[in-house]
Symmetry: C2
Subunit: 198 residues, 2 copies
Protein backbone atom coordinates (compact mmCIF):
# COMPACT_ATOMS: atom_id res chain seq x y z
CA UNK A 1 0.00 0.00 0.00
CA UNK A 2 1.33 3.41 -1.04
CA UNK A 3 1.45 6.21 1.51
CA UNK A 4 2.52 9.81 0.87
CA UNK A 5 4.04 11.47 3.91
CA UNK A 6 4.50 15.22 4.27
CA UNK A 7 8.17 15.46 5.12
CA UNK A 8 10.35 18.33 6.34
CA UNK A 9 13.58 16.45 7.05
CA UNK A 10 13.08 16.97 10.80
CA UNK A 11 13.11 14.23 13.41
CA UNK A 12 9.34 13.89 13.70
CA UNK A 13 8.47 13.33 10.08
CA UNK A 14 11.52 11.03 9.83
CA UNK A 15 10.21 8.87 12.68
CA UNK A 16 6.74 8.88 11.12
CA UNK A 17 8.32 7.58 7.90
CA UNK A 18 10.05 4.77 9.75
CA UNK A 19 6.87 3.72 11.57
CA UNK A 20 4.89 3.60 8.32
CA UNK A 21 7.65 1.57 6.69
CA UNK A 22 7.64 -0.81 9.64
CA UNK A 23 3.89 -1.24 9.16
CA UNK A 24 4.58 -2.43 5.64
CA UNK A 25 3.65 0.70 3.69
CA UNK A 26 5.48 1.78 0.58
CA UNK A 27 6.39 5.30 1.73
CA UNK A 28 7.03 8.29 -0.53
CA UNK A 29 8.23 11.42 1.24
CA UNK A 30 6.73 14.65 -0.02
CA UNK A 31 7.93 18.18 0.39
CA UNK A 32 5.75 21.11 -0.56
CA UNK A 33 7.21 24.00 -2.52
CA UNK A 34 5.56 27.30 -3.43
CA UNK A 35 8.25 28.46 -5.84
CA UNK A 36 9.80 31.09 -3.57
CA UNK A 37 13.05 29.26 -2.89
CA UNK A 38 14.55 25.78 -3.18
CA UNK A 39 13.62 24.94 0.39
CA UNK A 40 13.15 21.26 -0.45
CA UNK A 41 16.91 20.66 -0.63
CA UNK A 42 17.34 19.77 3.04
CA UNK A 43 14.37 17.37 3.01
CA UNK A 44 15.66 15.78 -0.19
CA UNK A 45 19.07 15.22 1.38
CA UNK A 46 17.49 13.73 4.52
CA UNK A 47 15.25 11.44 2.48
CA UNK A 48 18.40 10.11 0.84
CA UNK A 49 20.08 9.51 4.21
CA UNK A 50 16.99 7.63 5.39
CA UNK A 51 16.63 5.71 2.15
CA UNK A 52 13.13 6.79 1.16
CA UNK A 53 11.65 7.88 -2.15
CA UNK A 54 11.25 11.65 -2.31
CA UNK A 55 9.04 13.98 -4.32
CA UNK A 56 8.61 17.75 -4.42
CA UNK A 57 5.06 18.93 -4.98
CA UNK A 58 4.77 22.43 -6.38
CA UNK A 59 1.70 24.30 -5.20
CA UNK A 60 0.28 27.70 -6.08
CA UNK A 61 2.07 30.69 -4.55
CA UNK A 62 -1.37 32.09 -3.84
CA UNK A 63 -1.69 29.76 -0.82
CA UNK A 64 1.51 31.16 0.67
CA UNK A 65 0.42 34.74 0.00
CA UNK A 66 -2.89 34.19 1.73
CA UNK A 67 -1.01 32.59 4.64
CA UNK A 68 1.13 35.70 4.92
CA UNK A 69 -1.96 37.89 5.12
CA UNK A 70 -3.21 35.64 7.93
CA UNK A 71 0.20 35.83 9.65
CA UNK A 72 0.19 39.62 9.54
CA UNK A 73 -3.41 39.79 10.72
CA UNK A 74 -2.83 37.55 13.77
CA UNK A 75 0.75 38.56 14.51
CA UNK A 76 1.87 34.99 15.28
CA UNK A 77 2.43 32.01 12.98
CA UNK A 78 -0.09 29.41 14.25
CA UNK A 79 -3.15 30.24 12.12
CA UNK A 80 -1.05 30.78 8.97
CA UNK A 81 0.76 27.43 9.34
CA UNK A 82 -2.57 25.70 9.93
CA UNK A 83 -4.04 27.39 6.86
CA UNK A 84 -1.21 26.08 4.68
CA UNK A 85 -1.32 22.56 6.10
CA UNK A 86 -5.07 22.20 5.61
CA UNK A 87 -4.84 23.49 2.03
CA UNK A 88 -1.97 21.12 1.31
CA UNK A 89 -3.96 18.14 2.60
CA UNK A 90 -7.05 19.20 0.62
CA UNK A 91 -5.06 19.40 -2.61
CA UNK A 92 -3.00 16.24 -2.09
CA UNK A 93 -6.09 14.23 -1.20
CA UNK A 94 -7.36 14.69 -4.76
CA UNK A 95 -4.29 12.85 -5.96
CA UNK A 96 -3.25 10.40 -3.24
CA UNK A 97 -5.43 7.89 -1.40
CA UNK A 98 -3.35 7.62 1.77
CA UNK A 99 -1.77 10.74 3.23
CA UNK A 100 0.31 11.03 6.36
CA UNK A 101 2.15 13.65 8.37
CA UNK A 102 4.44 13.88 11.38
CA UNK A 103 2.07 15.78 13.70
CA UNK A 104 2.73 14.92 17.35
CA UNK A 105 0.40 14.78 20.34
CA UNK A 106 1.96 17.92 21.83
CA UNK A 107 1.94 19.98 18.62
CA UNK A 108 -0.38 22.97 18.66
CA UNK A 109 0.04 23.68 14.91
CA UNK A 110 -0.33 22.44 12.35
CA UNK A 111 -3.20 20.37 13.67
CA UNK A 112 -6.57 19.35 12.29
CA UNK A 113 -9.51 18.95 14.64
CA UNK A 114 -11.23 15.59 14.82
CA UNK A 115 -14.13 16.93 12.73
CA UNK A 116 -11.77 18.34 10.12
CA UNK A 117 -10.04 14.96 9.82
CA UNK A 118 -13.36 13.13 9.48
CA UNK A 119 -14.56 15.64 6.92
CA UNK A 120 -11.37 15.32 4.86
CA UNK A 121 -11.43 11.51 4.91
CA UNK A 122 -15.10 11.28 4.03
CA UNK A 123 -15.34 13.99 1.36
CA UNK A 124 -12.19 12.81 -0.42
CA UNK A 125 -12.51 9.11 0.35
CA UNK A 126 -8.94 8.98 1.59
CA UNK A 127 -7.07 7.83 4.68
CA UNK A 128 -5.16 10.37 6.74
CA UNK A 129 -2.59 8.99 9.17
CA UNK A 130 -0.62 10.84 11.84
CA UNK A 131 1.53 8.03 13.24
CA UNK A 132 2.96 10.20 16.06
CA UNK A 133 -0.31 11.59 17.35
CA UNK A 134 -0.35 9.26 20.35
CA UNK A 135 3.25 9.99 21.37
CA UNK A 136 4.28 12.73 23.84
CA UNK A 137 7.46 14.77 23.64
CA UNK A 138 9.40 12.67 26.16
CA UNK A 139 8.68 9.47 24.26
CA UNK A 140 9.55 11.08 20.93
CA UNK A 141 12.79 12.54 22.32
CA UNK A 142 13.76 9.05 23.46
CA UNK A 143 12.86 7.39 20.15
CA UNK A 144 14.38 9.98 17.83
CA UNK A 145 17.61 10.12 19.87
CA UNK A 146 17.73 6.35 19.79
CA UNK A 147 17.41 6.09 16.03
CA UNK A 148 18.78 9.27 14.53
CA UNK A 149 21.81 11.52 14.65
CA UNK A 150 20.12 14.89 14.95
CA UNK A 151 21.43 18.34 14.18
CA UNK A 152 19.73 21.30 15.78
CA UNK A 153 19.14 24.38 13.68
CA UNK A 154 18.37 27.79 15.16
CA UNK A 155 15.25 28.93 13.31
CA UNK A 156 15.98 31.28 10.43
CA UNK A 157 19.72 30.57 10.29
CA UNK A 158 19.51 27.89 7.61
CA UNK A 159 17.03 27.11 4.88
CA UNK A 160 14.87 24.36 6.30
CA UNK A 161 12.24 22.43 4.38
CA UNK A 162 9.17 23.41 6.35
CA UNK A 163 6.44 25.92 5.50
CA UNK A 164 8.28 28.52 7.59
CA UNK A 165 11.24 28.74 5.20
CA UNK A 166 9.28 30.08 2.26
CA UNK A 167 7.10 32.30 4.47
CA UNK A 168 10.31 33.90 5.82
CA UNK A 169 11.68 34.37 2.30
CA UNK A 170 8.46 35.96 1.06
CA UNK A 171 8.33 38.29 4.07
CA UNK A 172 11.93 39.40 3.36
CA UNK A 173 11.00 40.08 -0.28
CA UNK A 174 8.42 42.46 1.10
CA UNK A 175 10.93 44.09 3.48
CA UNK A 176 9.24 42.61 6.53
CA UNK A 177 11.48 41.12 9.23
CA UNK A 178 10.35 37.48 9.74
CA UNK A 179 11.62 37.60 13.33
CA UNK A 180 8.74 39.95 14.12
CA UNK A 181 6.41 37.03 13.53
CA UNK A 182 8.36 33.87 14.29
CA UNK A 183 9.64 33.48 17.84
CA UNK A 184 13.13 31.96 18.00
CA UNK A 185 12.90 28.18 18.15
CA UNK A 186 14.96 25.11 17.38
CA UNK A 187 14.39 23.06 14.27
CA UNK A 188 16.04 19.73 13.60
CA UNK A 189 17.38 17.76 10.73
CA UNK A 190 18.52 14.18 10.59
CA UNK A 191 22.15 13.77 9.59
CA UNK A 192 22.41 10.03 10.15
CA UNK A 193 20.69 6.85 11.31
CA UNK A 194 22.17 5.20 14.42
CA UNK A 195 20.37 1.90 14.45
CA UNK A 196 17.07 0.63 13.33
CA UNK A 197 17.40 -2.79 11.89
CA UNK A 198 15.51 -1.96 8.70
CA UNK B 1 13.00 0.19 27.43
CA UNK B 2 10.10 -1.52 29.21
CA UNK B 3 6.55 -0.63 28.28
CA UNK B 4 3.37 -1.94 29.89
CA UNK B 5 0.43 -2.08 27.50
CA UNK B 6 -3.19 -2.43 28.62
CA UNK B 7 -4.34 -5.40 26.60
CA UNK B 8 -7.76 -6.93 25.96
CA UNK B 9 -6.83 -9.51 23.31
CA UNK B 10 -8.68 -7.50 20.66
CA UNK B 11 -7.25 -6.34 17.35
CA UNK B 12 -6.46 -2.81 18.45
CA UNK B 13 -4.38 -3.54 21.52
CA UNK B 14 -2.70 -6.35 19.55
CA UNK B 15 -1.65 -3.92 16.82
CA UNK B 16 -0.48 -1.42 19.46
CA UNK B 17 1.71 -4.18 20.93
CA UNK B 18 3.26 -4.89 17.54
CA UNK B 19 4.00 -1.23 16.86
CA UNK B 20 5.69 -0.80 20.24
CA UNK B 21 7.73 -3.95 19.64
CA UNK B 22 8.73 -2.65 16.21
CA UNK B 23 9.90 0.56 17.90
CA UNK B 24 12.26 -1.53 20.02
CA UNK B 25 10.32 -1.58 23.28
CA UNK B 26 10.29 -4.57 25.57
CA UNK B 27 6.50 -4.99 25.76
CA UNK B 28 4.56 -6.58 28.62
CA UNK B 29 0.85 -6.98 28.02
CA UNK B 30 -1.34 -6.24 31.02
CA UNK B 31 -4.89 -7.25 31.70
CA UNK B 32 -6.84 -5.74 34.59
CA UNK B 33 -8.90 -7.96 36.83
CA UNK B 34 -11.27 -6.93 39.62
CA UNK B 35 -11.83 -10.43 41.02
CA UNK B 36 -15.36 -10.92 39.66
CA UNK B 37 -14.47 -13.54 37.06
CA UNK B 38 -11.43 -14.92 35.23
CA UNK B 39 -11.92 -12.55 32.32
CA UNK B 40 -8.18 -12.40 31.65
CA UNK B 41 -8.16 -15.88 30.07
CA UNK B 42 -8.86 -14.70 26.53
CA UNK B 43 -6.22 -11.95 26.70
CA UNK B 44 -3.73 -14.44 28.14
CA UNK B 45 -4.37 -16.85 25.30
CA UNK B 46 -4.01 -14.07 22.71
CA UNK B 47 -0.77 -12.83 24.28
CA UNK B 48 0.57 -16.37 23.83
CA UNK B 49 -0.48 -16.44 20.16
CA UNK B 50 1.27 -13.10 19.61
CA UNK B 51 4.34 -14.10 21.59
CA UNK B 52 4.29 -11.36 24.22
CA UNK B 53 4.84 -11.44 27.99
CA UNK B 54 1.55 -11.24 29.85
CA UNK B 55 0.58 -10.15 33.33
CA UNK B 56 -2.73 -9.88 35.19
CA UNK B 57 -3.01 -6.92 37.53
CA UNK B 58 -5.59 -7.35 40.28
CA UNK B 59 -7.26 -4.12 41.30
CA UNK B 60 -9.77 -3.28 44.01
CA UNK B 61 -13.37 -4.33 43.33
CA UNK B 62 -14.36 -0.93 44.68
CA UNK B 63 -13.38 0.68 41.34
CA UNK B 64 -15.75 -1.62 39.47
CA UNK B 65 -18.55 -1.01 41.96
CA UNK B 66 -18.21 2.74 41.60
CA UNK B 67 -18.20 2.29 37.82
CA UNK B 68 -21.47 0.41 38.05
CA UNK B 69 -23.03 3.25 40.03
CA UNK B 70 -21.90 5.61 37.27
CA UNK B 71 -23.30 3.25 34.61
CA UNK B 72 -26.69 3.11 36.31
CA UNK B 73 -26.71 6.89 36.82
CA UNK B 74 -25.98 7.69 33.17
CA UNK B 75 -27.74 4.74 31.57
CA UNK B 76 -24.99 4.13 28.99
CA UNK B 77 -21.49 2.72 29.40
CA UNK B 78 -19.22 5.60 28.26
CA UNK B 79 -18.66 7.46 31.52
CA UNK B 80 -18.25 4.22 33.52
CA UNK B 81 -15.65 2.81 31.10
CA UNK B 82 -13.78 6.11 31.19
CA UNK B 83 -13.88 6.11 34.99
CA UNK B 84 -12.30 2.66 35.11
CA UNK B 85 -9.64 3.44 32.50
CA UNK B 86 -8.53 6.64 34.23
CA UNK B 87 -8.32 4.89 37.59
CA UNK B 88 -6.36 2.04 36.08
CA UNK B 89 -3.83 4.44 34.52
CA UNK B 90 -3.52 6.39 37.80
CA UNK B 91 -2.77 3.22 39.75
CA UNK B 92 -0.43 1.64 37.18
CA UNK B 93 1.53 4.87 36.81
CA UNK B 94 2.72 4.51 40.43
CA UNK B 95 4.38 1.25 39.43
CA UNK B 96 5.35 1.52 35.76
CA UNK B 97 7.25 4.33 34.04
CA UNK B 98 5.93 3.80 30.52
CA UNK B 99 2.27 2.90 30.03
CA UNK B 100 0.45 2.34 26.77
CA UNK B 101 -2.99 1.45 25.53
CA UNK B 102 -4.76 0.65 22.26
CA UNK B 103 -7.01 3.73 22.10
CA UNK B 104 -7.78 4.71 18.49
CA UNK B 105 -8.45 8.07 16.90
CA UNK B 106 -12.13 7.22 16.39
CA UNK B 107 -12.73 5.84 19.89
CA UNK B 108 -15.07 7.87 22.04
CA UNK B 109 -14.31 5.92 25.23
CA UNK B 110 -12.13 5.20 26.96
CA UNK B 111 -10.30 8.37 26.13
CA UNK B 112 -8.32 10.88 28.14
CA UNK B 113 -8.41 14.54 27.21
CA UNK B 114 -5.16 16.26 26.31
CA UNK B 115 -5.09 17.98 29.73
CA UNK B 116 -5.71 14.70 31.53
CA UNK B 117 -2.81 13.08 29.66
CA UNK B 118 -0.49 15.99 30.46
CA UNK B 119 -1.56 15.94 34.09
CA UNK B 120 -0.98 12.18 34.38
CA UNK B 121 2.46 12.35 32.76
CA UNK B 122 3.60 15.32 34.84
CA UNK B 123 2.22 14.33 38.24
CA UNK B 124 3.48 10.76 37.97
CA UNK B 125 6.59 11.46 35.90
CA UNK B 126 5.64 8.75 33.43
CA UNK B 127 5.19 8.38 29.69
CA UNK B 128 1.78 7.47 28.34
CA UNK B 129 1.66 6.19 24.75
CA UNK B 130 -1.38 5.49 22.57
CA UNK B 131 0.28 4.21 19.39
CA UNK B 132 -3.02 4.05 17.46
CA UNK B 133 -4.27 7.54 18.27
CA UNK B 134 -3.33 8.89 14.85
CA UNK B 135 -4.98 6.05 12.91
CA UNK B 136 -8.57 6.08 11.66
CA UNK B 137 -10.87 3.08 11.43
CA UNK B 138 -10.23 2.43 7.72
CA UNK B 139 -6.48 2.36 8.20
CA UNK B 140 -6.79 0.12 11.26
CA UNK B 141 -9.15 -2.25 9.47
CA UNK B 142 -6.60 -2.59 6.69
CA UNK B 143 -3.66 -3.12 9.04
CA UNK B 144 -5.34 -5.54 11.43
CA UNK B 145 -6.77 -7.61 8.57
CA UNK B 146 -3.34 -7.67 7.00
CA UNK B 147 -1.59 -8.96 10.09
CA UNK B 148 -4.10 -10.90 12.12
CA UNK B 149 -6.67 -13.63 11.79
CA UNK B 150 -9.57 -12.07 13.63
CA UNK B 151 -12.59 -13.66 15.22
CA UNK B 152 -15.63 -11.49 15.82
CA UNK B 153 -17.51 -11.92 19.06
CA UNK B 154 -21.05 -10.67 19.61
CA UNK B 155 -20.85 -8.66 22.84
CA UNK B 156 -21.98 -10.60 25.88
CA UNK B 157 -21.89 -14.02 24.21
CA UNK B 158 -18.38 -14.92 25.36
CA UNK B 159 -16.21 -13.81 28.26
CA UNK B 160 -13.93 -11.17 26.76
CA UNK B 161 -10.99 -9.57 28.55
CA UNK B 162 -12.16 -5.97 28.56
CA UNK B 163 -13.69 -3.93 31.38
CA UNK B 164 -17.16 -4.76 30.05
CA UNK B 165 -16.87 -8.46 30.91
CA UNK B 166 -16.63 -7.96 34.66
CA UNK B 167 -19.17 -5.13 34.65
CA UNK B 168 -21.64 -7.48 32.96
CA UNK B 169 -20.92 -10.22 35.50
CA UNK B 170 -21.36 -7.88 38.45
CA UNK B 171 -24.63 -6.54 37.03
CA UNK B 172 -25.92 -10.11 36.67
CA UNK B 173 -24.97 -10.83 40.30
CA UNK B 174 -27.27 -7.95 41.17
CA UNK B 175 -30.06 -9.26 38.94
CA UNK B 176 -29.65 -6.42 36.49
CA UNK B 177 -29.72 -7.27 32.78
CA UNK B 178 -26.43 -5.95 31.26
CA UNK B 179 -28.15 -5.58 27.87
CA UNK B 180 -30.12 -2.70 29.36
CA UNK B 181 -26.87 -0.75 29.51
CA UNK B 182 -24.62 -2.13 26.79
CA UNK B 183 -25.86 -1.78 23.23
CA UNK B 184 -25.10 -4.82 21.09
CA UNK B 185 -21.70 -4.47 19.45
CA UNK B 186 -18.95 -6.59 17.98
CA UNK B 187 -15.77 -7.34 19.87
CA UNK B 188 -12.78 -9.04 18.39
CA UNK B 189 -10.07 -11.44 19.37
CA UNK B 190 -6.96 -12.45 17.53
CA UNK B 191 -6.77 -16.14 16.76
CA UNK B 192 -3.63 -16.05 14.61
CA UNK B 193 -0.94 -13.94 13.01
CA UNK B 194 -0.89 -13.93 9.18
CA UNK B 195 2.36 -12.20 8.45
CA UNK B 196 4.50 -9.66 10.13
CA UNK B 197 8.12 -10.51 9.76
CA UNK B 198 8.92 -10.10 13.46
Amino acid sequence: MEVYLLFSGGKDSSLAAFILKKLGYNVTLININFGVLDSYKLAEETAKILGFKFKVINLDLDILEKAINILIKYGYPGPAINYIHKNVLEILSDKYKILADGIRRDDKVPKLSYSEIQSLEMRKNIQYISPLLGFGYKTLRYLTNKYFIIEEIESGTKITSDYEAEIRALLKERDINPNNYFPKHKQTRIVGVKEWGV
